[in-house]
C-alpha cells in the first residue's frame, strides 16, 4: 500500500474532470449533425411551400443577422430573458423550498397532491388572463405567468426527491449523529438534486415558451411583442428569425449552463458507472 499523496489525488480528480468536459464537448458533434439535418428538412419544405408560408432557413438567418447587427434584436432578447429568468428564478426558489418541506411530511404531501394536479391542469392562458387583470400591462404579467406555470413542475420534483429518500440512509444519519446541516448537505440534498435538476430543466424550457405567449398578448416589448408585429406585417421571415433567436437562446442556456452544472453535481453517477 502506497502512502497517501494529496497532490496525486487532486491531479487524478482534475484529469477525471477534464476528461468528462472533453467528452461532453465531443458529444456535441452528434447534436450539430442532427441540427444540420433539421435545417436541410426545413429547406426542402420551404422549397415546396413558397416564401410566404415558410421562408428558407438562410433567409431567416440573414434576417436575424440583420436584426442583430442593426441592434434591434438585443434589447428585445434581453427584455424577454429578464422576464423569463425572473419568473423561473421565483419558481425555482419557492417551488424547491416548498416541495422539500412538503416532502418531509406525509400529511403535507398528501394535501399538496390534488392541488398540484389542479395547478398542472390549469392552462397557462387562463393564468395569463388572470394576470392581465391583476398586474396589467407590464413585467408583472409575464413574470407571474411564468412563475405559476413552472411552479408545480419544480414543486413535484422537490417533493418526490424528499419522499423517495431511503429510510435506511436516514437511520444511518441518526446512528452517526450527523448534525442537521450535514443531514441536509450530505444525505438529503445529493439525493434530491437528482430529482430537482430534471424538473428545473423542463421548467426552464417551459418558462421560455410561456414568456413569449404572455408577451404576445400583454406587452409592447420583448420577443413576443416583436412576433406580434411581424405577424401583423405578414413578415414570415422576420417571424422565423425571432423564433430562431428564441430557440437558440434556450439551447444556449440549457447546454452551456445547466447541463455542465448537472454533470458537475452528479459526477458521482458518471464515475461510478464508468469504473464499475
Amino acid at each position: 500500500m502506497r502512502p497517501a499523496h494529496p497532490t496525486r489525488r487532486s491531479f487524478r480528480v482534475a484529469v477525471e474532470r477534464l476528461g468528462a468536459a472533453g467528452g461532453y464537448l465531443w458529444s456535441g458533434w452528434g447534436s450539430v449533425a442532427s441540427i444540420c439535418l433539421f435545417l436541410a428538412a426545413w429547406d426542402v419544405a420551404a422549397g415546396h411551400l413558397g416564401e410566404l408560408i415558410l421562408p428558407r432557413p438562410q433567409d431567416a438567418l440573414v434576417r436575424l443577422q440583420g436584426l442583430l447587427t442593426e441592434g434591434q434584436a438585443w434589447p428585445e432578447i434581453a427584455i424577454t430573458a429578464r422576464r423569463a429568468l425572473a419568473g423561473f428564478a421565483l419558481s425555482v426558489g419557492i417551488g424547491s423550498l416548498l416541495g422539500l418541506l412538503a416532502g418531509l411530511s406525509v400529511t403535507a404531501s398528501m394535501t399538496a397532491r390534488p392541488l398540484v394536479t389542479l395547478l398542472v391542469g390549469m392552462p397557462p392562458i387562463a393564468w395569463l388572463i388572470l394576470a392581465l387583470l391583476w398586474f396589467g400591462a407590464g413585467d408583472g404579467t409575464p413574470v407571474f405567468t411564468v412563475f405559476i406555470a413552472c411552479f408545480p413542475i419544480i414543486f413535484v420534483g422537490a417533493m418526490q426527491g424528499t419522499r423517495t429518500l431511503d429510510g435506511q440512509l436516514r437511520e444511518l444519519a441518526r446512528m452517526f449523529r450527523l448534525p442537521p446541516w450535514m443531514r441536509l448537505t450530505d444525505v438529503i440534498l445529493p439525493h434530491v438534486v437528482s430529482y430537482l435538476f430534471p424538473a428545473w430543466i423542463s421548467a426552464l424550457g417551459m418558462s421560455w415558451k410561456i414568456v413569449v405567449m404572455a408577451e404576445l398578448l400583454s406587452t409592447e416589448d420583448g420577443i413576443g411583442a416583436a412576433l406580434a408585429v411581424s405577424r401583423s406585417h405578414l413578415d414570415t421571415a422576420a417571424s422565423m428569425a425571432w423564433i430562431v433567436a428564441l430557440v437558440s437562446s434556450l439551447l444556449a442556456i440549457e447546454y452551456l449552463l445547466l447541463e455542465p452544472l448537472k454533470r458537475h453535481v452528479e459526477s458521482w453517477r458518471e464515475f461510478a458507472s464508468s469504473r464499475s
Binding site: 500500500m1 497517501a4 437511520e171 444511518l172 446512528m175 461510478a272
Partner: protein, 220 residues
C-alpha cells in the same frame, strides 16, 4: 453488558432481536419501560453496508468524524489509516462505493463504524451476505480492532457458528413477546478458538434442549 464484552443475540425470526438492537442504538424509543445504556458512543454496522453512493469511500469512512467536527486533514488521515488496516487500498478509497465489490463495501462499513472510536459496536447481521472466506477475514479484522480498542460488541446473528466464534456470551431469545430464555457463557478466549473448536461446540450447542425449543426444533 460489561464494557469490552462481546454478546451475541440469537433467536428465531420475529422474536424482537432487531427491535432490541434498535432500542440499544437509540433509533427507536421504547413505548413502555426504559433503556439503560451506559455506553457513550454506540455505533452500528447494518446488514447492508449503507455507504452514501455520492461520496468517495474515504469520505464515507470519515462520515462520523465529519459529524463530530474534525478538520478535513485529520479525519482523512484517520480514515485512511483505518482503511489500510482493513485491507482497503488508496485506489479503493478514491472510488465511489458502487465501484467496490461487496466485500470491500463491508470493510468500508466496518472501518466507518470503528472510525468514531465506539465503546459499543452493534452488528445487525452485518456479515450474513458474505461468502465464508470474506466472513472469516472480517471476523479477524473485527477481533483485532476489538482487542486494540476494548470496545464492546452486541451482535445479532442467525449463524450459531458466528456467535460461537466471536462472542463471550450468547443470549437466546424467543417467543412473542420476545424474552431471553437462556444465557450461555463461553470461557474459552476468542483468540484460542480454532475451526475445530467452533465446529465441535456448535454441534454440542445445537443439541441443547433449551436451544432446540427456542428455535422450534424437535428434541433429539
Amino acid at each position: 453488558m460489561r464494557s469490552g464484552e462481546a454478546v451475541a443475540l440469537v433467536g428465531p425470526s420475529g422474536c424482537g432481536k432487531s427491535t432490541l438492537l434498535n432500542l440499544a442504538a437509540g433509533l427507536l424509543d421504547p413505548w413502555e419501560g426504559t433503556v439503560r445504556n451506559g455506553f457513550v458512543r454506540p455505533t452500528m454496522m447494518f446488514q447492508q453496508p449503507r455507504l452514501l453512493p455520492w461520496k468517495r469511500t474515504l469520505d464515507n469512512i470519515a462520515l462520523g468524524l465529519k459529524a463530530r467536527g474534525e478538520s478535513v486533514p485529520r479525519r482523512h488521515a484517520a480514515a485512511r489509516q483505518l482503511a489500510h488496516a482493513m485491507g482497503l487500498s488508496d485506489e479503493d478509497l478514491d472510488k465511489y462505493p458502487s465501484a467496490l465489490s461487496g466485500g470491500m463495501q463491508s470493510r468500508a462499513a466496518l472501518a466507518r463504524a470503528f472510525a468514531v472510536e465506539p465503546d459499543l459496536l452493534l452488528l445487525d447481521e452485518a456479515f450474513s451476505a458474505l461468502d465464508i472466506g470474506l466472513k472469516s477475514e472480517l471476523y479477524g479484522l473485527l477481533a483485532h480492532q476489538r482487542r486494540a480498542r476494548g470496545c464492546a460488541v452486541l451482535m445479532i446473528t442467525h449463524d450459531l457458528m458466528e456467535a460461537l466464534r466471536l462472542a463471550d456470551r450468547i443470549l437466546v431469545m424467543t417467543g412473542s413477546p420476545g424474552h431471553i430464555v437462556a444465557s450461555h457463557v463461553i470461557e474459552e478466549p476468542t483468540a484460542g478458538r480454532s475451526e475445530d473448536w467452533v465446529f465441535a461446540h456448535t454441534a454440542r450447542f445445537i443439541r441443547e434442549s433449551g436451544i432446540r425449543a427456542a428455535f422450534g426444533l424437535p428434541p433429539c
